[in-house]
């Protein structure tokens, strides 16, 4: 059978065929409301001026292209990291559809979560009945081992009390009395998905730990935080800890849930922290968090039981990984094995090999606060300048941490952190103070288009590339991948600029 009888075009090239081009141009030209091309161009140019930047930064009531999501997304994410756990979001049902598709598009895996489907009536009379029916249905339909309850903003505005609702539902027999239903209030109008992660995780450990007696042991807990690269990162984390022969519990491990195989078995749930492990985690010697802003409350809670705690900013690169491993060694008393020392040496070797290509490159970076910190730190390690660092969900404390980081390196002199700003602010920053490369997620592609700055996708969500999250960014191995990702983009760009035969290809070199 032939591949095709005649040329059948995908829609990207299809509408560039002459007949379509004409049609589209006509619409543009004829339609009265649409300004002429030169006006459009002029407006576009103006939006890239310093004048516009000032106007843009004067905004206070309007958010344009935000780079953050809401608390319940983080709650759904963290719950997915526990064994056979179903997320139950108390509130209207639409929100959950967003969380599911958001996670599913990024991880290319099905994602389960349900809501209590509150409607108008519930908004007036409270959502107790929805909770009662909802828990019962969830329990019956999806047979989870645990149901983790969080809230959408509607439930928060009307003031539903999860604790009493759940007690009520248990009393009504929705689920057995001793069934695990941890919960957390996660209003979307406070914080962001990283806050929701913290709240839900605290809700879960509180559920298991509250009122228990701690018998301090030697194992440690590690909390990965909200992380689009969790599949690769958590596995790399485990590999490193295994090499160190550390006893550990990962609190919320989504690696297997978001990377199920096609082997003929349908897994609604896969992997995750077991309930037994979550309970036993109380006795850990220490709890370490890979992302400070995902775990403020949870760590405080753990510290209240006498656990040692420490948090990192999404440790990447040499310094980031060093700090993390040192802390693990310090807390557990385990030596760092030669295998890791050798990996470290190899990463440094590779960075030194390639330093001339990275030195002095300038970057804009956006994403969650801990990621941006780590990325900027790695860029500084390569001799690059992370000029614009932006986190829509970053606060003043984060800005101060970033500033301290910048001050630790001569390459940080012209760098600035922007907390609470959105991607439209970033557009102005990049238009007025251009950089060589942009690091962010798929939403950055519009900045790539408008400002002709190559985008490197290194953080959640990534919708327009596949499977990147299956490789780690953490550890020295992850550092190598980071390094190669940056270099590939630099070389691709250089090749692209020098490929024109007879015009620029005097620099289209075989060796770089």
């Amino acid at each position: 059978m032939p591949q095709s009888a005649e040329k059948v075009l995908d829609h990207a090239p299809l509408f560039r065929e002459p007949e379509y081009r004409e049609m589209l141009a006509k619409k543009k030209a004829l339609f009265e409301g649409m300004p002429a091309d030169d006006v459009v161009q002029k407006t576009s140019d103006w939006t890239k001026s310093w004048e516009y930047r000032e106007k843009n930064f004067a905004r206070e009531a309007l958010t344009v292209n935000p780079a953050k999501a809401c608390q319940p997304l983080g709650a759904v994410f963290v719950a997915a990291g526990f064994e056979k756990t179903m997320s139950f979001v108390h509130g209207s049902q639409g929100c959950v559809a967003y969380y599911r598709s958001h996670l599913s598009r990024h991880f290319k895996e099905p994602c389960s979560a349900v809501s209590s489907s509150m409607t108008e009536d519930a908004a007036v009379f409270g959502g107790l009945n929805n909770m009662i029916d909802g828990l019962a249905n969830t329990y019956a339909l999806y047979a989870p081992k645990m149901i983790a309850v969080s809230t959408t903003c509607m439930a928060e505005v009307i003031g539903d009390d999860l604790q009493s609702f759940i007690l009520n539902a248990k009393a009504k027999g929705s689920v057995p009395q001793d069934y695990d239903v941890p919960f957390a209030h996660t209003p979307a109008f406070v914080g962001s998905h990283v806050t929701g992660y913290d709240n839900m995780l605290k809700g879960i450990v509180e559920h298991f730990w509250k009122g228990q007696e701690r018998t301090a042991g030697t194992a440690i807990n590690i909390i990965p935080g909200f992380d689009g690269f969790a599949v690769g990162n958590n596995r790399e984390l485990k590999r490193m800890l295994d090499l160190m022969e550390v006893e550990y519990t990962i609190l919320s491990d989504v690696a297997d849930q978001f990377d199920t195989p096609s082997d003929g078995e349908y897994r609604m749930y896969d992997g995750g922290t077991t309930i037994e492990a979550a309970k036993a985690a109380l006795n850990a010697k220490a709890t370490l968090s890979m992302q400070e802003y995902c775990t403020t409350k949870t760590l405080d809670y753990a510290a209240g039981f006498g656990q040692e705690t420490a948090s990192f900013h999404y440790p990447m690169g040499i310094g980031g990984t060093d700090d993390f491993l040192m802390k693990v060694a310090e807390v557990t008393g385990k030596e760092i094995p030669d295998a890791l020392t050798k990996e470290r040496g190899r990463l440094i070797d590779a960075m030194a090999d390639s330093q001339a290509w990275l030195h002095g490159k300038t970057y804009a970076i956006y994403g969650d606060p801990d990621f941006v910190y780590a990325m900027a730190r790695f860029i500084l390690e390569t001799g690059g300048e992370p000029k614009h660092c932006l986190a829509t969900n970053g606060n003043k404390a984060w800005e101060a941490q970033m500033q301290a980081l910048f001050e630790s390196s001569p390459y940080g002199a012209s760098c600035k952190a922007w907390g609470g700003k959105d991607l439209w602010h970033l557009r102005s920053l990049m238009a007025t103070e251009p950089v060589d490369l942009l690091i962010g997620n798929s939403y950055g592609k519009y900045l790539e288009r408008d400002l002709d700055t190559p985008l490197i996708r290194l953080t959640f969500p990534i919708f327009d590339r596949h499977h990147h999250h299956r490789f780690p960014l953490w550890g020295y191995q992850g550092g190598l991948r980071l390094l190669v990702t940056l270099l590939d983009k630099i070389f691709d760009k250089l090749d692209g600029e020098t490929i024109e035969a007879g015009v620029t290809d005097y620099s289209y070199d075989l060796t770089r």
């Binding site: 095709s4 509408f15 099905p110 249905n137 969830t138 329990y139 003929g264």
Partner: protein
């Protein structure tokens, strides 16, 4: 929920254009159109989502979401509705309400300032303001703010009052239609009219499907005066009341708009589809007939037949090479339901068998259509993933056509899958689109990964080809 909104919802539920509604008694009517939601069962989007789906394809206006960041932060720019010009619709605008705003009751003030900021920065022809659960619950009056802003700023501000908890995605579609009826359509006169002006209602130009069929109308001298809302422009839609005929696509979404336009401006409408050769041809035929009835030149009918003959022949010639591969292949169709009958017809045209089609959101009329075209009409309502997995696993179908959410069920069940919903990357509209659909079906069915996916790891085969047992016995 404001009284105005309650009234509006009741009005929409009472929609006489909706056949589903007509069959109900008064009490049921009051209860509303959408099926009651099951708390604790996975469900689809909300009314807000539905409103955005219906309106976001209007490319040149600012779509401003009034609420906490969540509604927009999780979802902006998540559909591939194509634009031939303005890109404003792809920019995400929200008031990003904080706890303080809510506690202090600052929502309305913040909204007004946000509108002002957006108008200053973008100078759009209009601003669409979307209500959300929180702002509805705390009683922010978006209609009043929009009135005020329109007056003060001199730019139309259109309130879209469809907070999530009001109901389903489908209800949201309709409420969006109401916003257009109340604030946009009829507010402007076109520069000129022709006896062949039409509107298309309920077509969103996903992956450019509107563009696939537009040349067909243009070839016949039929002008698309406006499209609701694919590749739409504000001023264009404002003139929609001057069309001679309304083409109602994907009926359940915006049926209220078509019916009310008939009521207010006497524009006849008919339900149609651009999917499949027969349906596309039927659409062209009916359009021509209705236009002629309303005064278009008589020869339009003959020219339409000629076009149909040419296009169908051309399409069939391109479909031919794939027929053998698709013949008698069993398809499971699980879409939002709106296009079910049309897709069913299309698939049957090329000789495929329909295992079942979902009618979750279909009207009774839709279902009748399906019954009319299928010999043995299997219609299903909502199918939980686990059940669908079991069906696919036991080999009920050769391929699943569905939206992205069921994709992974098919893949885990090792059955080919083709995206038929909003995230698809191919345009399936019109004659060309049918050829594309056929090609994509053939590609999906034949992809060798399905062999790999179906056979277990060789060492898990019953006769794994090497004697583990013996070796172990010997050891």
């Amino acid at each position: 929920m404001s009284e105005a909104l309650k009234t509006k919802i009741a009005d929409v539920f009472n929609e006489p254009g909706c056949d589903k509604n007509q069959a109900k008694d008064e009490k049921a009517k009051k209860k509303g159109c959408s099926k009651p939601l099951t708390p604790g069962a996975a469900a689809g989007g909300c009314a807000f989502d539905g409103a955005k789906i219906a309106l976001q394809p209007i490319t040149d206006v600012v779509h401003l979401i009034h609420g906490p960041l969540a509604c927009e932060g999780n979802s902006w720019d998540n559909r591939n509705a194509a634009s031939s010009g303005a890109k404003t619709y792809r920019v995400s605008f929200t008031t990003d309400l904080s706890e303080l705003d809510i506690v202090m009751g600052n929502g309305e003030k913040r909204l007004y300032r946000a509108i002002k900021d957006a108008v200053a920065a973008y100078a759009p022809p209009a601003v669409f303001v979307y209500q959300t659960c929180v702002t509805a619950t705390i009683g922010d009056d978006v209609e009043a703010v929009c009135r005020h802003a329109t007056e003060k700023l001199g730019i139309p501000c259109v309130p879209v009052n469809a907070p999530g908890f009001a109901g389903s995605k489908n209800l949201g579609n309709k409420l969006a239609g109401e916003a257009l009826l109340d604030h946009v359509i009829g507010t402007r006169e076109p520069e000129f009219t022709t006896p062949c002006d039409i509107n298309i209602i309920g077509e969103y130009n996903l992956s450019g499907e509107l563009w696939q069929i537009k040349p067909l109308f243009e070839a016949l001298g039929i002008r698309i005066l406006s499209c609701l809302s694919g590749d739409g422009r504000y001023e264009e839609i404002a003139t929609a009341h001057r069309a001679r005929v309304n083409l109602m696509v994907c009926s359940t979404a915006l049926i209220n708009v078509a019916r009310k336009m008939e009521e207010r401006w006497g524009i006849p409408y008919f339900e149609c589809s651009f999917y499949g050769l027969s349906d596309m041809s039927a659409t062209l035929r009916t359009t021509a007939r209705l236009l002629v009835e309303r005064g278009a030149p008589e020869d339009l009918i003959a020219r339409t037949e000629a076009l149909i003959a040419r296009e169908e022949a051309h399409a069939w010639s391109r479909i031919a090479p794939y027929r053998e591969a698709l013949k008698a292949k069993r398809v499971m169709l699980y879409t939002g339901g709106v296009k079910s009958w049309s897709i069913v017809a299309a698939l049957q045209e090329i000789g495929m068998e329909i295992v079942y089609t979902s009618v979750r959101k279909s009207t009774e009329e839709d279902k009748d259509r399906i019954k009319a075209i299928m010999e043995d009409p299997h219609m299903v309502e909502s199918v939980p993933p686990r059940e669908m997995y079991a069906q696919l696993k036991r080999g009920d179908a050769d391929i699943l056509l569905s939206g992205g959410k069921s994709q992974f069920v098919a893949l885990k069940a090792k059955v080919p899958w083709l995206d038929i919903n909003q995230e698809r990357h191919h345009a399936f509209g019109g004659y060309d689109g049918m050829v594309t659909l056929v090609r994509e079906l053939a590609k999906s069915l034949r992809n060798p990964i399905w062999q790999d996916i179906r056979r277990p790891a060789p060492w898990d085969l019953p006769n794994a080809g090497f004697p583990f047992a013996q070796i172990e016995a010997r050891a």
